[in-house]
Symmetry: C2
Subunit: 204 residues, 2 copies
């Protein structure tokens, strides 16, 4: 019985994944507005009602795609959301993440940037989601810079919140520049350059 | 006669400006897709055919708005496009521009960011415009960093093109973060922080 239940659960996970993958592909290619639930369901080989059963609505599906992208990034970094990396470890992560994005995740990165820009105004559907995700990322970065000062790997005298905002700005902007001009912007090299400069500036 | 001709020209400039201002306002509030030529014309107090006469098409109007934004930025900085500022001067410009944007240009900044994100893919209407504008900005920044090494205000050993890409990424990203969360992101402070760090890193 446990075996059958396990198989059913596994099939459920695989189906969810197929739906999210189909959504990522179609959203990135045609935009979120231009992609209907029926098209995502067809691409994933499920019925539209099965898709709605999983995600509640198209908005739920978009949110699931964004969360899945973040989950995969953490998984790639083999990190739990409450891990406490050192400054050097965090920098390695960001560079590795840039390598992965440049090699295999252009669609997802484009989706993230396009949706962020579509949700700048309060009241737009995903505004709070993106705003709060930004706050959470800056919160992690602020804690990272504080720990680095505490453990002696960074010298004091910098405002950790400003450093966090600056780094988050760089990360968003680097992806935007690369998406717009991949022939001229080397996403990985520009990450290495920025973080080498940051480490040099903070070195005690 | 010269006076009459001057008045007619002045009225033409004022009308063009009224149309661009109306477009900025409506595009920022309702999006470019959601704003028709007729609405812009009505807001500016001209006929739709007068508007088309000036800009050729809606795309021409969008381009005019983006160019006007860049022109106003240069005018504010009292700089010509081929000015050759020193590193310190350029940093002052960027901070002053952030002050002006934060105080008075939220709509235009949002329009710029939204349109960039809508035109990431080759083949989209304004893709080449945004890509080439990015290349031109990075070209100016690269030249700036080269001059700074040549005149002794920056030490050698940095790749000027990478520094230019990094700085351009920071500028794009800082605006995006601020647009998304103006309560928590101080656009001017984060500019000051980034450029102070950059100058410290480059100081000979």
């Amino acid at each position: 019985m446990a075996g059958v239940k396990g198989q059913v659960q596994k099939r459920g996970v695989e189906r969810r994944r197929a739906m999210v993958d189909a959504a990522i592909e179609l959203f990135a290619r045609q935009g979120v507005r231009g992609t209907g639930v029926a098209a995502v369901a067809e691409r994933a080989g499920v019925t539209p009602s099965a898709l709605i059963h999983h995600f509640g609505s198209k908005d739920g599906l978009v949110r699931a795609v964004l969360q899945e992208a973040d989950r995969r990034a953490l998984e790639r970094l083999s990190a739990s959301p409450d891990a406490e990396p050192t400054l050097e470890q965090a920098v390695e992560w960001f560079v590795r993440d840039a390598e992965h994005t440049a090699a295999a995740e252009r669609e997802l990165a484009a989706l993230h940037t396009t949706l962020t820009a579509e949700n700048l105004q309060p009241g737009t559907l995903l505004h709070t989601w993106f705003r709060d995700r930004g706050r959470a990322l800056r919160g992690h970065l602020t804690a990272l810079f504080r720990r680095a000062v505490a453990d002696g790997s960074a010298r004091p005298g910098h405002d950790p919140e400003l450093l966090a905002a600056e780094t988050a700005a760089f990360l968003e902007g680097a992806h935007l520049l690369w998406l717009l001009d991949p022939e001229r912007i080397d996403l990985v090299a520009v990450h290495r350059g920025y973080f080498a400069g940051l480490l040099a500036r903070l070195r005690p």
